[in-house]
Symmetry: C2
Subunit: 481 residues, 2 copies
């Protein structure tokens, strides 16, 4: 594979990607090699066109074929090396590669052919593609989602670095049960040992919050983006058994508004960055045209989801100046005004998905101060605590169509109260001594939240199911490789 | 806690951190609130000094106490709020906070007292501190390591973004066995279901490489920083049961030099970034003085490890213009020249840790082209394959004192050869069909590597044991919380 070209924009010994060619195009009229999968073929008698793409960017690279009759049998899905002339294009793209089979300096090689039963075709639905877990990301739409995920992670890093957070890695295997939910996975070596491998029963974490608290108290502010696991037997589009959770903890906050304000800033920051990137990368300043032309090319494209749907969702996040806040108690009253008599909610009831969707019909909304009975042991009591209707200083962030995107709270930082709360929840105090000791020694008011990363990506990409967002989704009966 | 101050450098509704105060100091002679743990106390009759730190930076903030006799009983480890005058300091630091108990605008509040048995004291070894998993990161040295980790992750992200990589998240739970080693953890729900929860036996990944290949072939280049798990019953300072692995895969490479060159670029990039950051943040341009004064303050400090040790290690990575390469076969010859007769190695033997240390005595070194028999099924045969001494196109990156830091290879991309290799390794072909199909459909020459993230941090921070690098280390008999 003699495809090295010496170009100023090469920063390493690697071949240029198709993204390189689009973003920093080489000098026209030079001999260039490119590689990628065949995405489209149009062959006529005197001329042919092949679009190739290597997955580095949404936009294909156009190859024009001279003397197409002498060209090998191209098929969609093959991987190809083409060496030809890089020229100013008469077509829509600024440049194209011209391959002339009669030119002795030109080369075209099918590096990887496809099998007769190559299963990935153009008009497949994302649901159908799930059958081919290792090939499905060769489609433009699913590759777009992976690039979007990477982009968002970069922007989260930027956001948290600018606010003096330390990124940390709490443990995946734990002997503590954060949510007390019971629906957890147990971890044991395949070759069982006489005594427990870790000295005690060990599980996959359902939330790293308790460990994250310990680290953020030491570091002032800490965040993580980390796998979490739930052994729930639910097969909805909104749940996975393995998912990535963004969790953050902040020391020295004692007001729930600080936490909701911070969460809103964060989601707005990454969404604005995304919109900015799509507009800047597009040749058009109009976001709608950018989608249509497939020129908002790095992250997105016309196959990225329904344009209308994507725009509607981005705008739902960014249009309101400030997302509304409402307490649980207000939310119950608000819903009851709209609900028919037989569906009225009583204070203390859980809000169902349909209620959440109703509350977030037009805009994201923070619902705060839920009843104590609905929430875990570690939450601080509400500022205006009412013993008749006891609530905790927490929030759920609900977004249109989806319901819950994130949830957080101030944490009880008083040792005596926390101890009593843990007893009330029937917790094993000995196992939790490491956590309690945080309150006995230099305790600090603090709070934090968790956000389901796949849910955010699903929302921002105009998709419906987390199974198309996770590269290799895990759910009941789903772990094929 | 009325400690809000309105300053231009505040970018959110959060209180400023001590890092903020150092990096963008407020106007002198203003009233300021700060929070942090008490780190040092020196009280005299007429004046006192308290150093506080909130974990956002290595450098403490100095508080000068006027009328110290009226000041509450301060102890190391307490969390404190202090409101006082921010003034130009007559001491070593440019600014200090002056608290005068007689000034009605000033305030000092012990937010969190310590227990009688507060276990974290100044002169403890890191080994002793491991007994206090949730408190140990309040020490300057262990907090430094967490900030270093976060810094390095940011720099890796920069590096890979600049080279058109997509960051991906291969699965943690898998039904495929990447290394065929058998020392894996099994995953099952606590409440066992009649049939396997995932439909088949499922394990924690030992390396995400196989899945990463599928993604990188779709995206051209992909990387991940992800937890991996090994159920080995080994309790060395160099191993953990749960660790984070940096893995990268690159399409369209067919030369091992491209892979070693890329790996070297990457490790140099993050190391150079670290050195640059320490030098720039320090008031002194001399790295040695920077350590001494504790002014290379954001990541490091004089308690960061032995200065000499850190400098020696950084310089070992950066001093050689290019790290040497040597084949396994050459390495055996080279070692045999130095080894006594009774310790001679025979071609085909594994290199032991002592051999690795010897090879990397003065500089990192790539050992390439190991015998087929020592390596997994997926590796491409060496370029100059010799059937009498069959080798594969792979490398181990060895570093001084430590031995292996990273390992990688070109991958066999020919379907027929890979199929035969898998049969030779006695693998279950049906289970691996998802992987084999990558070679049947648009196959591409490619390669990649994995690097133990905790090992790199241990090395760069001048430390010895991975247990001080991992926030909550997991090893046999070690999962206390």
């Amino acid at each position: 594979m003699d495809s090295r070209v010496s170009l100023a924009w090469e920063i390493s010994s690697l071949n240029p990607t198709i993204k390189d060619m689009h973003v920093n195009p080489p000098q026209p009229d030079t001999l260039i090699s490119v590689q990628g999968f065949v995405k489209n073929i149009r062959q006529f008698r005197k001329v042919g066109f092949v679009d190739i793409n290597d997955g580095s960017i949404f936009k294909n690279l156009n190859v024009t074929l001279k003397n197409p009759t002498e060209i090998p049998d191209l098929k969609i899905g093959q991987s190809l090396n083409v060496k030809g002339d890089w020229v100013v294009s008469p077509g829509k793209q600024p440049f194209e590669l011209v391959y002339d089979s009669k030119n002795p300096n030109h080369e075209m090689k099918i590096v990887g052919d496809i099998a007769e039963d190559y299963p990935v075709h153009k008009e497949m639905t994302v649901a159908h593609l799930r059958q081919f877990p290792s090939l499905r990301h060769r489609t433009s739409s699913l590759a777009s989602i992976l690039r979007l995920r990477s982009f968002l992670e970069t922007k989260f890093m930027e956001f948290f670095n600018s606010r003096n957070f330390t990124k940390v890695t709490p443990p995946i295997i734990t002997s503590s049960d954060c949510e007390g939910a019971g629906e957890v996975f147990k971890v044991e070596p395949v070759e069982k040992t006489e005594e427990a491998f870790f000295g005690k029963d060990s599980y996959l974490t359902v939330s790293t919050q308790l460990h994250l608290e310990a680290l953020s108290l030491a570091l002032n502010r800490a965040w993580t983006l980390t796998p979490c696991f739930r052994a729930e037997n639910s097969k909805t589009t909104r749940h996975l058994s393995e998912f990535w959770m963004l969790e953050a903890e902040l020391s020295y906050i004692d007001n729930l508004d600080q936490l909701t304000g911070f969460t809103e800033d964060m989601v707005r920051y990454v969404t604005k960055s995304l919109v900015k990137d799509v507009l800047e990368k597009g040749t058009s300043a109009n976001i709608d045209e950018t989608f249509e032309s497939g020129d908002g090319a790095d992250l997105l494209g016309s196959s990225f989801g329904s344009n209308e749907q994507v725009l509607k969702r981005w705008s739902a996040l960014l249009t309101p100046d400030k997302w509304p806040r409402m307490t649980y108690t207000e939310a119950v009253e608000h819903l009851n005004k709209q609900l028919p008599r037989e569906e009225q909610i009583v204070w203390g009831d859980s809000l169902l998905l349909k209620h959440e969707k109703q509350l977030a019909e037009n805009s994201p909304i923070f619902i705060t101060d839920y009843p104590v009975s609905q929430k875990p042991f570690y939450m601080l009591k509400s500022k205006d605590f009412n013993p008749d209707k006891p609530t905790v200083a927490c929030f759920d962030l609900l977004i249109p169509e989806f319901g819950e995107l994130a949830g957080g709270s101030l944490r009880e930082h008083n040792y005596d109260i926390l101890l009593q709360d843990m007893k009330n929840h029937g917790m094993n105090l000995e196992d939790m001594e490491w956590y309690l000791t945080l309150r006995r020694n230099g305790t600090i008011p603090h709070g934090g939240f968790g956000l389901g990363f796949e849910r955010l990506i699903t929302y921002l990409s105009g998709r419906e199911s987390l199974r198309d967002i996770s590269a290799f989704p895990r759910a009941p009966s789903l772990c094929s490789c």
